[in-house]
Symmetry: C2
Subunit: 191 residues, 2 copies
């Protein structure tokens, strides 16, 4: 998605530790109008797939999941990072290592929100190692629902998580794939 | 907002500890199309206020903030609950007690995302005691921006946080105000 690549170049900052900060439009501060455009692009890419649920993990995935869900016309479900007082009854659960925070979290989804006849699109803002996505795929597997694919805004191609998913046969659509980045230079994969 | 009251009655569950679970449409699972409608209603209520930023706190406020921001046509900024590797530089910070989780969190916003000439609308999904909103108001105060008001989806009127804000002169718009609730019975305040 050309517009996303342009925004990454114009507004992104490469920080030590292979972190791309896009806080000015994708997290912390969200360009809401552009977020809805990304949602429509995801809906276009997965048109005809019969998606019934968009699934993401809190917190930064919520915005793009809402945008994609609104464009598709289906609910967005988000996995919570801890079992909280508001998650009732049976849950699907998996463990995810956070690249950003350097810790492990259990992510949980109430079983009432993912059913065997659901057709699920997993959505997230970032794909680096793919740990969060594997955790969400495990939750889809536990639910018995079918996985239509995965859509992310920004894939860090050089970390390999995306290509590893593609080799597994997962349909993965990334709106922008960064092949290389360093301070002052970002190269995208041609799609 | 009549439709919201109807959804609360149809899909909400009152849990022990004065918790209203609306996980089927407002958090955990988000009715994305209805969420966008709530965003448009918030934009309508604050039309003419010259809002330049919508401000919320992660995680459950993000969806309604994105919806309101998209309807208003301005960015949504969300406060993070811990200082993370992705929050750079100077921050505004306040401490918030979570009614749901029973703990305290620092919430932080990078100072680059709230400026003195911003006109801010604080948005959240729930208002009970109002602790999160007071924390966000403190962050607006630190930034020097002006506060246009607060919009929430569901106010638990019986917990007093909303009326306390109104007595302070804050313009608070709640799409639904619950006056009383118990298992099987929910009464709304007439607005």
């Amino acid at each position: 998605m050309k517009e996303l690549e342009e925004k990454i170049v114009a507004e992104g900052h490469v920080l030590p530790g292979n972190i791309l900060s896009v806080g000015s439009f994708l997290n912390q501060q969200i360009d809401t109008v552009f977020m809805m455009e990304m949602g429509r692009e995801i809906a276009r890419l997965f048109a005809g797939e019969g998606i019934t649920k968009v699934l993401t993990v809190e917190a930064s995935g919520i915005a793009i999941a809402v945008a994609a869900g609104a464009a598709i016309g289906c609910p967005a479900v988000f996995a919570k990072k801890h079992r909280s007082g508001n998650v009732r009854g049976n849950v699907y659960k998996s463990r995810v290592h956070s690249f950003t925070h350097g810790n492990d979290n259990d992510i949980v989804v109430s079983s009432e929100f993912l059913l065997p006849d659901d057709r699920v699109l997993i959505v997230d803002d970032f794909l680096a190692s793919g740990n969060a996505l594997h955790g969400l795929m495990e939750i889809v597997r536990q639910s018995g629902a079918s996985l239509a694919g995965i859509a992310v805004a920004i894939e860090k191609g050089f970390q390999g998580g995306g290509d590893s998913l593609r080799r597994m046969g997962v349909r993965l659509e990334s709106l922008a794939i960064i092949e290389e980045m360093s301070e002052g230079s970002i190269t995208f994969r041609k799609q």
